[in-house]
Amino acid sequence: MIWQIAFKEIYHNLTTLRFALILIVLPVLFVANSFIYSFGGYGYTAQVDTYNQQVTQNRNHIGDYANKGLAELALVGPGEIPKLPNPLTFCADGADKLIPRSVKMQNVGMLGRAGYDEFEGYQWRPPWILEYPLQNKSGSVVQRIKVDWVFIGILMGFFAILFTFDAIAGERARGTLSLMMSNTVSRGQVLLGKYLGAFVTLMVPLIISILINLLIIHLSGNIPFAPEHWLRILGMVGLFALLVSIFTFLGLFFSSRVSNAITSLVWLLLTWVFLAFVFPSLLGTFVGNLNPIPSVDEVLRQQYAQLGQLYDEYRPFDGSGDIPSKLSKAASAEDPEATRLWAAFFTKEVETKTRFADGHIDQQFRQVLLARDLTQISPIATFQYAMEGLANTGIVGYMNFVKQARRYRQTFIDFIKTEDQGDSESLHIYPVKEGLSQSPVDPDAVPVFGEQISYWSVLTQVMFLVLFNLLFFIIAQISFLKSDLK
């Protein structure tokens, strides 16, 4: 019986103007999306080229310094670590332009001092730290919504509304509702039939358009997919289905709740605008004020103040005056005492810089995550985050990258220390050049950075979307059961 109603609905829908319009709009949007992302500038191919260049550069960098000796490599660091470009930005752009493409783990600069009297001249390389450069610092371009799959998903919510706003209110007005109910069908079956009818009519053009989109991208050859990508895309289609289903239920709810189709549409439209645009963005702006974090300048100031204290304590540049410098002797392999002092100084310096760099970006991440958690009240926002999660774009993709870069930082340091243990001539004092092994290392033995992608974070969002579905199904059901037929 449900399917009978559903088929009736589908036949009816197929002949409507809205279906015709969707049939035009959806393919146009998806084709536009595929062209923009597979042929446009700064596309995936260009990103892969840059990435490969950076990887080669990085390998050369490690090779150069590994040959110069373990100590050199230990202080210069493993170089600039590029983030793997993502082929699936066309699905979820995730504010791609804001996301930095690499982190820095190298320091090529030298510092030095001229010696006099007791104060020995010395040149040193301050140890590297993990730095997080910002992408697009002075970009004056105002952030806009991108025409990615997520955006089309938002529009799908709108289309779902257009298919359901009068599903019950309209029949009620025409009087056909009481006719249908005079048959031996339960109300639940009618609702489900109508739901299936709308859902199928929406999903069919969507899936066709997606196939066209993928075909164009595939034929263009600019974005090659691995089998794993196809799986993720399949997951995204599932997310589309969940979102469309939510809005179909929502439409049925308002349609049965409100006597007049127009009133139902007004409610739905405003709900949609709220869920899609107003709500997520307002919370995004608001969280910055709700949970304020110090500005970049302030963090820098604090860092300078603490480093200043450190410099006052050790006085690496200044041996004159009443207070003698702790570092008046230069570090050397013959003087383990002085080398240890330098190591203490460097360790503290690295620790301070790392604390500020890591701390600040963690604060930023927490702020964004808080905003995201709050905005998940909107199913559209949840859908967006799930899409970004599957595509591994957006802030979560970057956070994964940062987490792995930090792990790699530790791996690299551990490697240096273990290698150093193998050299009996070394003083084993990290991180001073004179305290470490001077013999070259095999460049191939140096650990390389590899990025692994995890999709577990998506599960929460999928669960939320399923819950939204259940919730809206129940309220639609209740509201229809309680509604009047006339």
């Binding site: 319009l21 949007l29 025409v147 107003v278 995004g284 702006t285």
Partner: protein
């Protein structure tokens, strides 16, 4: 006249009594209020960081004692009208540090120590959330309401059969169209008015927003443009209502048009231009290379001049008291910073035992060299500005494409009126360049380049009490109008065109 009034009244009453009016009214009011709340908060934050930046710059000014190392700053003052339309307020640099040898430029890749920097920003990642302001709410919500009021004005009455009744009276058809338009607008008018008043009240209730008469007049202008915008949508709805047979068709059609014009079109235009930029010549790195060449030219020209004066190098131009010549090398120190890849060339001089030195010729040479350096910095600026100019041209192209939709025309108009659009940001950068020129003029007037105080304070510190201060300019109403008039004109043209089409279509309307 009374018949027209009758039609207006009837339309007005039939609109106002509907549920959609009440819901629309409440939602518009609520979302405007929330948006203003958030934007006021945001503005307060911007203002606080601006004030902090100005405050911190003050003691720094006191420390300058030599002419060559003054670094005055131009701070971008947050615009209180950003509460209504945030526009580009949160984007781009807000502090430009003027250094005589450093061009003012903006490149997309970080070079370190940029002249134009963004201060007070705490989290660049929050920019991934779309910013919403009153104008955005109006752009989306008011347009939807206007459409929902208009869609059944004609086709609905036709379906109900009341249209025949109305037309069988002695009321001329043009009166009916005009009456329906005015009646619809009359019912939308209070929504726009009260939403804006509420917005204004919330904005004024914040202790930091100081609105003067000028700002209020801008808000009034924004109100007028918003009405014009709403009217465009109402007329479009009316036209569709005349063109289609049933209100259901009108509704679906107008909803599609609405979603396309307000949401899809502008995003599509922007991203297409971003991905397929019409103006694209060289990558930024190429410009940076030519900047380095210019600085090399400067060095050559400078060295030629020094040789022409008969000295091997700058330091030979200083004559020292006899008996100290052997230590000469230690007494003259040049330090320079040749910005990354040669973007700028700052040179400073430290002379030890300066009281034993006669620097008159050295000063003369500096009097030639420093203005030359500034002239070269201007040349470099011209080169380094090219990428930004290109970006601007592309953005303008995207804007032009966006203007196909009058929803974006409205957005641009309000941005221009409020002074928060990209143009205002570019003006700030221009103003900071003008400020630099004023500083140069000031130094010329003081003969600072040939003065000993350029590099040494042994004969007293530089007198910088009357150093020009950067003045932020505020747009007067007429200036705003002159910038927004094209967009206002386009909106007006749409109104006229839509009204004429609706009018003609309705006169030829076939009741059958």
């Amino acid at each position: 006249m009374s018949t027209l009034w009758l039609v207006i009244q009837r339309e007005f009453v039939s609109n106002v009594l509907t549920a959609r009016f009440m819901i629309g009214f409440m939602v518009c009011l609520l979302s405007t209020a929330v948006a203003v709340f958030v934007q006021v908060d945001d503005y307060e934050k911007r203002l606080a960081s601006y004030n902090a930046a100005v405050r911190e710059a003050e003691p720094e000014t006191q420390e300058w004692d030599l002419y060559y190392n003054i670094r005055p700053q131009a701070h971008r003052k947050p615009n209180p009208l950003g509460i209504f339309n945030v526009g580009a307020e949160n984007f781009g640099a807000n502090t430009v540090t003027i250094e005589l040898a450093k061009p003012v430029f903006e490149l997309t890749f970080p070079i370190g120590d940029e002249p134009a920097q963004k201060r007070g920003s705490d989290n660049p990642f929050l920019a991934m959330f779309l910013t919403i302001d009153v104008v955005f709410i109006f752009k989306i919500v008011l347009s939807a309401l206007a459409i929902l009021f208009a869609f059944n004005a004609v086709s609905g009455e036709r379906e109900d059969g009341t249209l025949k009744l109305v037309l069988s009276n002695a009321i001329p058809r043009d009166m009916i169209v005009l009456g329906k338009y005015l009646g619809g607008m009359l019912s939308l008018f209070p929504i726009v008015l009260i939403s804006l008043i509420v917005a204004l009240v919330i904005a004024l209730s914040s202790p930091v927003t100081a609105f003067d008469g000028n700002h209020i007049s801008h808000v009034v202008l924004i109100f007028a443009v918003s009405l014009l915008y709403v009217s465009t949508w109402y007329l479009l709805g009316l036209l569709l209502s005349i063109w289609t047979k049933t209100p259901a068709t009108t509704l679906i059609l107008s909803m599609f048009v609405w979603v396309m014009l307000t949401i899809v079109h502008s995003n599509m235009a922007t991203i297409v231009v971003e991905k397929f930029p019409p103006y694209q010549s060289k990558p930024e790195a190429a410009f940076v290379q030519s900047a380095a060449d210019v600085w090399d030219q400067f060095r050559k020209e400078r060295d030629t001049y020094v040789k022409q004066r008969g000295y091997e190098s700058l330091k030979d131009s200083i004559s020292w008291e006899l008996g100290t010549r052997s230590e000469k090398t230690n007494r003259f120190l040049t330090f320079y910073s040749y910005g990354i890849d040669g973007l700028y060339l700052i040179e400073g001089y430290i002379l030890r035992d300066i009281d034993k030195a006669d620097t008159s010729i050295f000063q003369e040479i500096l009097g030639y060299q420093e203005p030359l350096r500034i002239a070269y910095a201007d040349k470099v600026e011209e080169i380094l500005n090219k990428p930004a100019e290109e970006r601007e041209r592309n953005a303008k192209f995207a804007d032009a494409l966006s203007r196909i939709s009058f929803a974006d025309v409205y957005h641009f108009a309000v941005g221009a009126i409020a002074g928060t659009d990209r143009q205002s940001y570019n003006n700030f950068i221009q103003d900071s360049r003008a400020y630099k020129r004023r500083i140069v003029e000031y130094l010329k007037d003081k003969n600072a380049f040939t003065s000993r105080t350029w590099f040494s304070n042994d004969q007293g510190a530089a007198d910088l009490t009357d150093l020009p201060v950067f003045q932020d300019r505020q747009l007067s109403l007429s200036e705003s109008l002159s910038r927004a008039y094209i967009d206002i004109f386009i909106l007006l043209a749409w109104n006229i065109a839509l009204f004429m089409s609706a009018y003609v279509s309705f006169l030829r309307y076939n009741l059958g």
